[in-house]
Symmetry: C2
Subunit: 335 residues, 2 copies
Amino acid sequence: MYGAGSVRIENRPDPRIQQPTDAVVRTVLSCVCGSDLWPYKSMPATDTGRPMGHEFLGVVEEVGSDLSGINAGDLVVAPFTYCDNTCDYCARGLHISCRQGGRYGIDGVDGGQGEAVRVPHADGTLVKLPVGADSSLLTLSDVMGTGHHGAVTAGVDHGDSVLVIGDGAVGLCAVLAARRLGAQQIILMGRHTDRTDLGRDFGATDVVAERGEEGVARVRDLTGGRGVEKVIEAVGTRQTLETALASVIDGGIISRLGVPQYEEGPLGPSTIMRNITLTGSRRPARAYIEELMPDVLDGTIAPGRVFDRSFSLDETPDAYQTMTDRHVLKALITF
Amino acid sequence: MYGAGSVRIENRPDPRIQQPTDAVVRTVLSCVCGSDLWPYKSMPATDTGRPMGHEFLGVVEEVGSDLSGINAGDLVVAPFTYCDNTCDYCARGLHISCRQGGRYGIDGVDGGQGEAVRVPHADGTLVKLPVGADSSLLTLSDVMGTGHHGAVTAGVDHGDSVLVIGDGAVGLCAVLAARRLGAQQIILMGRHTDRTDLGRDFGATDVVAERGEEGVARVRDLTGGRGVEKVIEAVGTRQTLETALASVIDGGIISRLGVPQYEEGPLGPSTIMRNITLTGSRRPARAYIEELMPDVLDGTIAPGRVFDRSFSLDETPDAYQTMTDRHVLKALITF
């Protein structure tokens, strides 16, 4: 990416092992993340460009001398940041804060939207897959782990009423995760009927197309006036945060997944009187891969349905634009 | 209270049963809450005045016809709001949001800083005490329950490092509660040595007198550079919230007990990247009375030590002023 609106396909040097803990992975499936669209809309123009992509699945081509768990030929999925999986943060499931971790596409590490990637700390980062490549397994790289993280941090439990704000791929995966954790009522707030229809397939019991005060009123109607116990906020605007606060019962939990488009938010006396908990975050996808994989493999969940169009690597610039134009929910990139 | 700085002792009509669920309690012990000092500093002058006080312990004098659990002659403690203890909010321990609940001193209900109080929903509200009146039992009305709520909502667990910000009565009770729940390291941030000395008695392992960036640096030093897992913020200023955010590790929890003196707070992308949870609140003291009482009765905890001076009812105006001047930590009112 060379700046807003400018994604180019270029030849780069083949990745090779630099550290004994590296692996080189040949990409089989990749995709475009909603968060990739932020720089696509706003990145200042540069001469050097930046490798893109942090969700990929592939075959290990070469391994560093220190690796023991990963071998050439393994099919693996990569979480959206690399990590050693041994530090104190990783030990508590917070791989995104790993003391040796980092992000793809910067600091000399390749992006996942390319033919091959050098993965640092490959033993800690990569997870072996037992079957052939599958787009549902690719979602464990980020989007399904993120939706699941929202449901986990919101404390979704059997019998809960849950509001999911946002019908993007993360919101839809949050619906799937809330259903998987036993939520009784799942209200999906979104206005794109093709997306909310998929949300119903994923387990949404109700869809609210209204926003703001009207949306809150609808949520109240649907919960007998009470409001919901848990909210998963997968948009990130100030308005959606306020919708979350107005829709949740006293003592409820709001998990924020959408990257905030605000710096300040309501934290005054009224929030404290109501015992609201604000949690959630960027998603330590690595922590959840082993937990979610069996349900993907046996078909209990099919998060790969969020991919509604495939693009070849050469078509990646189109993938960015059609997602930005909301003609595509989530773009799969095949190699 | 007739306005900022104006507390008067007056004769009011004797409370009497109005609803069959009422009880009338003759006060034995009461006290002044830190939250009473807010109107004492800022309340606009009025002609009618407002009964004050929401923490009291006393003897039941008369009961309504619907009461079954409370009898005349019982010694009881009252949590700082009344509640039915049966609605859906009470069932989840959120008595402060009780659907039939309310506050003392408004809507025709007496204040606790007086000789007698009509208590609505007395079966749900009052808890019988098995022994003679004791100032440590009085703290179950609010301040000890509040400190405990901070430790519970922060998820304090065995081995944790906990930062308690504020050496007022709530902060000190939070230290006691964090210790009781097994925290290994408890850093108390406060500048009044008589208070922080009591904090050490209550279980603080370290005291930090510095504030702001210097305070954060000291906390980092005391935790090997890592920061603390949990913060209990018992002041409520924007600065103390920022100190909490800068002192907690990624993935940590901040429980806010101090009534916020701000409407907006930092909720931008950096907080979400760090997986910080903001929780805590006004304190459903009622929920904790039965849990904490045995430890008070057997002397495991002695939260009554926060009362450092007794006043007669007639001296209550002095109690407000000396607490405001910080010459008294928490004023006990005896009858």
